[in-house]
Symmetry: C2
Subunit: 367 residues, 2 copies
């Protein structure tokens, strides 16, 4: 996607053929800053501190992290160390584990001298695959938007609510939940997006609003509390969200608060779709309750950074000093609340049977 006229992906190989470029997402929306990462520690820090975030982008970043590590030391010990360091950064997104384990398996079977080159090749391939997957998700999701427009007798815009950021910044390009919206914009299908601010990290207000504004998509930022009221008032036609991990039965872990929106959608007959690249599916688990939920620092709730009138970005305390804070980062939305899973192969019913229609090669492989 373009930023100020220049085309960007959210991660790239620098011209030196070794270093990895990223957009520092913790600086958005107030500053657009790119960083060059040159070692495993830099990648681990970027993932942990959420300079890069979003399940698909974390997967690609982890693959590049393996490549940077192997470039420095291609021994078995270094390979195991890199995998362990990367797996420890964040627990919920399955793409991280998927990418790290795919590279570990592949590289362990190769002679040391070939490992670094192979790791870079595979990391670039993962990034390219992610772009293709998301383009396909966009095209399948666009059909759902067109169907919603038809239900409104063509009286647009189609009002779409989204939570957190599942745009191109959360992937390598295009996004998952926002891919259908960018596709609609390109196809001149009128859309308007309700952007949940998504406390505590405000990825909606900070990143989704920034992406939509950059792409010229009409949107309105709302407090996370507002979505149910808007649905009761008939002001939401569709919900599109992403996911960090989907079970073999169609339960989805996504940013904290997603479950509440799914409940409201169900209560008001609003279709609720989860958009996901298939590497986000964890075929080894059945029930959402088995997904580990990351508990992040309480300071993410007690403090927030914003822009002062003087143009400085400062962090301010919101809670009384001494009041304890809890900060679970994800919740699980059970499959019964999900209208469909929008994958690169089409829209699946949120169930084992539904997923196996699109991914028949997984039959018998699951837990």
């Amino acid at each position: 996607m373009k930023v100020g006229g220049t085309a960007y992906c959210s991660i790239w190989l620098e011209p030196d053929g070794r270093s990895v470029g990223i957009i520092d997402q913790t600086a958005l929306p107030h500053r657009f800053v790119t960083l060059t990462l040159t070692d495993l520690a830099g990648i681990c820090h970027a993932i942990r501190s959420m300079q890069v975030r979003g399940a698909p982008l974390i997967g690609a970043a982890a693959a590049y992290g393996m490549a940077l590590a192997l470039k420095a030391d291609s021994s078995d010990a270094a390979l195991e160390h890199a995998a362990a360091q990367l797996l420890a950064t964040r627990p919920t997104a399955v793409n991280l584990r998927w990418a790290v384990e795919a590279l570990r398996r592949m590289l362990a079977a190769m002679p040391e001298a070939k490992r670094a080159e192979a790791a870079y090749f595979r990391a670039e391939q993962i990034a390219e695959e992610d772009i293709a997957i998301n383009r396909a998700i966009g095209s399948h999701g666009l059909k759902l938007i067109r169907a919603a427009l038809a239900r409104k007798q063509g009286q647009g815009p189609v009002n779409i609510l989204t939570h957190c950021n599942a745009g191109w910044l959360a992937t390598v390009d295009w996004g998952t939940a926002l891919a259908p919206i960018f596709a609609a914009q390109a196809a001149c299908v009128p859309v308007h997006v309700w952007v949940d601010e998504t406390r505590p990290r405000n990825q909606g207000a900070f990143l989704t609003a920034w992406e939509l504004q950059a792409a010229g998509v009409p949107h309105t930022v709302i407090a996370d509390n507002a979505g149910g009221h808007l649905m009761r008032g008939g002001q939401v036609d569709l919900c599109f969200v992403g996911t960090d991990r989907t079970t073999a039965c169609g339960d989805v872990a996504n940013k904290i608060g997603t479950y509440l929106k799914a409940l409201a959608a169900k209560d008001n007959g609003v279709p609720f779709y989860v958009c996901l690249p298939s590497p986000t599916i964890d075929w080894t688990i059945e029930a959402g309750e088995e997904i580990p939920i990351e508990e992040r620092a309480g300071s993410e709730v007690s403090h927030i950074a914003g822009l002062t009138e003087n143009g400085d970005v400062v962090s301010v305390r919101l809670t009384p000093a001494g009041s304890p804070v809890a900060n679970p980062a994800f919740d699980v939305t059970p499959a019964r609340l999900v209208s469909g899973l929008v994958t690169e192969r089409g829209v699946a019913e949120a169930s084992r049977e539904g997923l196996l229609v699109l991914f028949p090669e997984r039959a018998g492989a699951a837990a």
Copy 2:
């Protein structure tokens, strides 16, 4: 309740017998500031800017506003002007209308010379009544907490989730949703409170956390998004919230986001109670959809004030400049999601029939 060892109500008549004292709630939790209001304009500003907020306190403040206006000019014209100014400050809370109309009716029937004194007398009476009502709500709600403790085989604490601030700052004293919690604390019944931060105005993080800390009640502040996840994990035993207006059939308008928590409570079998003084019941309407919902300034979502490391309170921008913002301030929770209405007369089923059991004098009076 006490602040730093001194007993406070949230509103009081100053020693001059004319001016009205309030706590400037927009300065909390970082500063404790009291203000002296000397005229109608000061009261209207305090209500509109939310220096005073909470349905019961708004009612009491409006009554004092009538008194201040009549003290300056006791003519019929001044009476009508004061009523109109006060009614225009905020649309959702019914206590405001109830207090203003009660005083208007009473004062219009009196000789001008008696009006100011009568208005002060009635305003003080409304404040006193509110305190007594809330003490009774606390005692009825305490029984629900004791029952929850019994369901846990006495293994406390009872984990109670609350949204917004329905504590003593929202009333004249004690609070509505927090009254049972303060009563439990006094009775040594172990409780722990999950405090929704309550975006966009953060009344939970700013006021409820401050009240609970001042009273020594164990509590944890969470993002509004987290409550559903906690309920799915069995970490919430009860929900207590307040309301700004309750219909004759038991639908409740409360701070935006309440409806989402009620849905999650229903989905997880967590009892969801709404605590309300009977002046919050609007017997003239049946369905929640008839309640006017205040749309407040978008700047409440796009900007937030907090405390810097230097101890300054500054406002920072959270959203990208140019992204539109919407800010509905309340939502409606339908009676079907409410386990019971905790009133000063006891706990009613959330229905016309349930309310009429406790308020039989209203039979036939409703719409």
